[in-house]
Symmetry: C2
Subunit: 440 residues, 2 copies
């Protein structure tokens, strides 16, 4: 159902701390909270868009000069506080906000951080703030409610924006699959692909044509691939004079790709064009899940791997000549202590190791303990990719490896790989969500 | 002078903790420390290369099972410790190390972290370690010495690898300049350009052709540009329906570009094809220098800006449709408390602000204090770019802005911009250094 919101009657007017309430009868537009799908006019958003959320109805508004906050009381009994300075900072008028760019024009230099409020006028769906210089800022009730500073609202909002909840897994995981062609052609499938990549960390796309050029199509689906010194896409084959251990027929132990970059690729796309006849099985493990096991089983090792910086290096010639150096903790935590990134490739771990000598042995012990946990049968998945499989995975979370294989002349194993970035993939996910469900 | 190092005579042999010294006469090859330029045979580095450093001469070697370390005594009176596990981990033999990729083959799974040593044989320029399984690892004395775990060596090494020393500046800075064409054609000038970009944070390249395509050439000089949702290069002009505040004729207050990405571009290249007739002056400030002033003058504000995460957002359509969200501290510190990155663009700072309501006002106060310091005359540089100028700067450090300008039909201001990444630029710097001076 699509309809326009009628211009609501005024609920109350606040002249500084004094609330001027209007007759109760004029409050009749207060509606019960309901799920509706409606076209809503947003003064500074150029295109109308569909939203599907409860209408947030304002019951009354209070302004508190002492706390420099406005309190909005909602008809569901809850209330939200909005600091004056934040309201002034986020004025949505054309003078303060460039609607075509959805960006703030008002510079910090021109913001009075100690601003007071002259007057507040509210309806059940809007508040208007009159500032001392008579500038007026209007705020839609839904816009305000989604920006509530309450902890629960913030937490939900952040989860929705960044999809930070992950589902841990061990060897019991049935690797989620989707059709390669459907990911390219069907928005709903593409959306589920990226959501799965975020939550589970891995998805196997099936039945891609067994020829080069398929990972590039996935790059276009996201937006673009991430170019590195190995090229926009790269061929994993047994090569003479290999400039990377992956370009041999040898075993690759579990690793993340490219820690020699300070920001390793967030997403890896690996397309099997031709599997090895004998060997070459793929191995994957949930690095976050195993890191959390290490935290429980060996807190000292966990502390070492989350604190010591390890040097990585990669030099050679491919897309062009290169000489990379980086420093990473093996396990990155966020400011809340949550595991958010694994950086480990034993091949490119530098012989230069920037730690006091007495930390060297504890570091190796800790690293070995972490690796031993990864290789436990309950954590490790081993499977053989088929021609046309595209393994897509979170390179900040999943460690991958391969068994060695027998390289045969003229009929060798061939994968084509590429990298994409999480910012870009999350952007595509939000765009798809907006197109499919209209959620903002 | 180029010459080969003769195969040295054996200095001493250690059988576990027992040092077997050879007759003193056989020590005659110990040379005084001297600066030489020589061709040195590195068993597992395919191409010989020039080095210019003192030869590290081994006086004697001791092995200590209790500490699981080998101690190398140098002829300059110093000594260095090398843990057994680190030596085994860094064996350079073809079984353990892939020389064509300069990468480790030995996996952590196969590394005995509690390994002991069977025998150590040393000459004045090499040690050979025989492990209990009779595997032998050989290490060149120079290779060992540059990998010393001593604090001073590590510090020098890290400075050389990452060039972390910065030179702070205020408005007294004469912006360093170089010829655009020379940066493209002359390795020494290109090297100085990247070194200056690292140390000072800004360099103005002069006399580029006043037409599009020049920043792309700088990208090729580095290796490649960083593609973003605004394209590989982008045109800064006054555009109708601008999808970015930069694409107007309005003032841009001091900012870093693209904090809506979790890893904003490290380097920005801005080529002035046509300056505005009136207005459009460029402003730059050393964000690190001002952050350190804030740390002194207002520690509370500094603490707030280095701890609170701020939401950034950017959505629209350009290279393709996009919807970015990110979280940054305004001032990033490394684990030693050193300022390493500024993330601030008021235009794309989100109205969503994920903090408890009581932190909102302190945040705005702190941010305003930081901005006020930036705009102080002693910190701010204002200048007008000329046609053919390419302003190149460290986008993690330098905040830039522009004065508003008068936009005239058919004769408007036009800049072309592009981004590059620090990892790639540092890689080019190391490659140039190697080519010019042979330092590794």
């Amino acid at each position: 159902m699509w309809r326009s919101i009628p211009k609501c009657l005024i609920n109350n007017i606040i002249f500084r701390n004094r609330v001027q309430r209007l007759p109760a009868g004029q409050n009749s537009l207060c509606r019960p909270k309901q799920e509706v799908s409606l076209q809503i006019y947003r003064p500074h958003t150029p295109t109308a868009f569909k939203i599907s959320m409860p209408i947030s109805v304002i019951e009354k508004v209070e302004a508190f000069d002492k706390q420099r906050c406005i309190t909005v009381h909602w008809d569901d009994g809850n209330h939200s506080q909005y600091p004056y300075v934040w309201l002034r900072d986020n004025c949505q008028c054309p003078q303060c906000f460039l609607s075509s760019a959805k960006a703030r024009k008002l510079p910090i230099e021109d913001l009075d951080v100690n601003i007071s409020v002259e007057k507040v006028i509210s309806t059940d769906s809007k508040i208007s703030v009159v500032w001392p210089d008579q500038h007026i800022s209007e705020f839609d009730s839904n816009w305000l409610k989604t920006r509530s500073f309450a902890q629960t609202t913030r937490k939900e909002r952040q989860q929705k924006l960044f999809l930070t909840d992950r589902q841990n897994w061990g060897s019991e995981l049935q690797i989620p699959t989707a059709s390669f062609e459907e990911v390219l052609d069907n928005d709903e499938v593409a959306y589920q692909w990226l959501k799965t990549l975020r939550r589970i960390g891995v998805m196997l796309l099936k039945n891609a044509p067994a020829e080069k050029g398929q990972v590039a199509k996935l790059g276009e689906r996201i937006g673009y691939l991430r170019l590195t010194f190995y090229g926009l896409t790269w061929q994993v084959e047994d090569k003479a004079g290999a400039n990377n251990v992956a370009y041999t027929s040898g075993k690759l132990s579990l690793h993340t790709d490219y820690p020699a970059l300070h920001r390793p690729p967030g997403i890896q796309l690996l397309h099997c064009i031709k599997p090895a006849e004998i060997g070459g099985e793929t191995q994957i493990v949930d690095g976050f899940h195993v890191a959390n096991q290490l935290r429980q089983l060996n807190p000292d090792a966990f502390r070492i791997l989350t604190s010591i910086f390890v040097d990585f290096t990669d030099s050679g010639v491919d897309y062009c000549d290169f000489s990379l150096q980086s420093k990473h903790r093996i396990i990155d935590l966020d400011h809340n202590g949550k595991v958010v990134q694994i950086n480990f490739n034993n091949a490119t771990r530098d012989s230069i190791f920037d730690v006091p000598v007495e930390l060297v042995h504890p570091f190796f012990s800790a690293l070995k303990d972490y690796m031993n946990l990864m290789y436990k049968p309950e954590n490790l998945i081993t499977f053989k990719m088929e021609a046309g499989d595209v393994l897509t995975f979170d390179n900040w979370r999943i460690l991958h490896g391969r068994q060695n294989y027998i390289s045969t002349v003229g009929s060798s194993r061939h994968l084509e790989g590429a990298y994409a970035s999480w910012d870009e993939a999350m952007s595509r996910l939000r765009c798809l969500e907006q197109a499919l469900y209209g959620n903002k």
